[in-house]
């Protein structure tokens, strides 16, 4: 866990800005083919880890990020101005869903110099929305991007494998022990007992037909 001196010991005042980095993966399976978009709520361009974060002015809001003592899954949202820069092409013209979003919090000193930065949120973009809000003579466009934290991604991940041929042979291509699963899927087996009803396409037994004769 990071120790953040800027907020240690409950300081009476902090001076912070949010820095956002979107990494859009252009090609499945090729993590090197990316476009990186960076912007911030700061008053000037800042360089963090060699990456310049522009004071785009199009960053309208950064959503709530849950802060819990233990690791919890949470989503967040950032809102961008739809009339600023390339924000609408960013969500419509790129593979924005599945992109990585990082939110970094920067702390400024009393002379408005960026002193330290710390990661605040890392997740995957799951959705976007474009809002056109016109009221009377006020016409505003907003682009919202939603992101889920990595923990949510892990929660939705399928662990292990299914007991069917396709899943089984993904891990063991030569193993054909699950090849017949499809033919018996959905059928009822009374293991160790006489068959009293057949699953799958069989007709249910009519209870008025009397007892089953056992041989």
């Amino acid at each position: 866990m990071d120790n953040i001196p800027e907020v240690a010991d409950s300081p009476p005042r902090i001076n912070t800005a949010e820095f956002i980095k979107l990494t859009v993966f252009n090609e499945y399976g090729n993590v090197a083919n990316t476009n990186v978009y960076t912007f911030s709520s700061a008053y000037r361009a800042e360089v963090i880890d060699g990456v310049t974060y522009l004071p785009m002015g199009g960053l309208l809001a950064v959503g709530v990020q849950n802060r819990d003592l233990r690791v919890t899954s949470s989503d967040t949202t950032i809102a961008l101005s739809g009339i600023s820069g390339n924000n609408i092409p960013l969500v419509l013209g790129t593979k924005i869903r599945g992109s990585e979003m990082e939110i970094i919090r920067g702390f400024y000193d009393d002379n408005y110099e960026l002193a330290n930065t710390y990661p605040r949120f890392t997740g995957i973009i799951t959705n976007y929305a474009i809002l056109n809000d016109r009221e009377d003579i006020d016409d505003n466009f907003t682009v919202s991007v939603s992101a889920s934290s990595y923990r949510t991604i892990f929660e939705n991940r399928v662990a292990g494998r299914y007991t069917n041929q396709e899943s089984w042979q993904t891990y063991s291509p030569g193993d054909n022990s699950m090849n017949n699963v499809y033919s018996i899927a959905g059928r009822t087996f009374d293991f160790g007992k006489p068959v009293v009803a057949s699953g799958g396409g069989g007709t249910p037994r009519n209870p008025f037909e009397g007892p089953v004769r056992r041989n």
């Binding site: 409950s10 009476p12 005042r13 902090i14 001076n15 912070t16 800005a17 709520s41 700061a42 008053y43 000037r44 361009a45 002015g57 400024y108 000193d109 002379n111 408005y112 110099e113």
Partner: protein, 232 residues
């Protein structure tokens, strides 16, 4: 005379200035304040209240200019263009205009403005007083004035350092630029709420037998000017 927002500034009944920063302020149960500030471009905001005494016939040019500016076009205004307003933001230091014209910016990082090429003056002479306006560059170059936070004496060094009211919001390099001081500084303002006007009967004027005016302008609201920092 320049018209538009400059006319509004020249003729307004009252002027209020808002330079408050963006900050979240919470009070704990024991009433300790906790403040989270966001370092923004901290634009100038001025609210001008106009009298309803403008005759329609004399204000046609003003009306057209304001309607053309609408709510989104910035315009340069200054307090020095009207002699009756030149007391406003008057330079309080002791340098002459020619001495000021020779000063150049050595560096400007954060809110620390370092000035060089200073005049030869006694070390106790005041160069800037609190609230003195300072604009970087030539006229029209960077019309985003700052103020000095505190009194700055000449001292004995080659440079002096001012703490300015807001950090350096100018995107390009300002090293070597000259400065403008006091009320010649320019403000690049637009009016997001641009008031509309209503014609009220009155101010009857006749030329020969022709009525040329019979209306005063009544403004729907104050003029809330906002600094156009988008091009800083």
């Amino acid at each position: 005379m320049a018209t538009g927002l400059q006319t509004i500034l020249n003729a307004c009944d009252s002027l209020s200035i808002d330079r408050r920063r963006v900050a979240g302020i919470q009070f704990a149960r024991n009433e300790q304040p906790r403040i989270s500030q966001t370092p923004t471009l901290n634009p100038w905001k001025m609210t001008l209240t106009m009298p309803n005494s403008f005759r329609y016939a004399d204000s046609r040019n003003l009306i057209e200019t304001l309607d053309t500016l609408d709510r989104f076009t910035p315009q340069l205004i200054t307090f020095s263009s009207n002699p009756k307003l030149s007391w406003f933001f008057r330079y309080q230091g002791t340098m002459t205009p020619s001495q000021i014209a020779n000063i150049t910016v050595t560096s400007y990082v954060g809110d620390q403005l370092v000035l060089g090429n200073l005049p030869v003056l006694p070390s106790t002479r005041v160069l800037f007083e609190p609230n003195d306006l300072i604009q970087i560059g030539a006229v029209d170059e960077h019309p985003f004035p700052f103020t000095s936070n505190n009194r700055v004496l000449r001292g004995t060094g080659a440079t002096v350092t001012l703490t300015t009211s807001r950090p350096n919001i100018i995107t390009g390099s300002v090293v070597g630029d000259s400065i403008i001081v006091g009320n010649p500084c320019q403000f690049y303002m637009f009016c997001p709420n641009m008031p509309t006007y209503k014609f009220m009967p009155g101010g009857w004027q006749v030329r020969g037998s022709t009525t040329i005016n019979n209306a005063y302008l009544e403004w729907s609201d104050d003029f809330a000017l906002y600094e156009w920092v988008a091009t800083a």
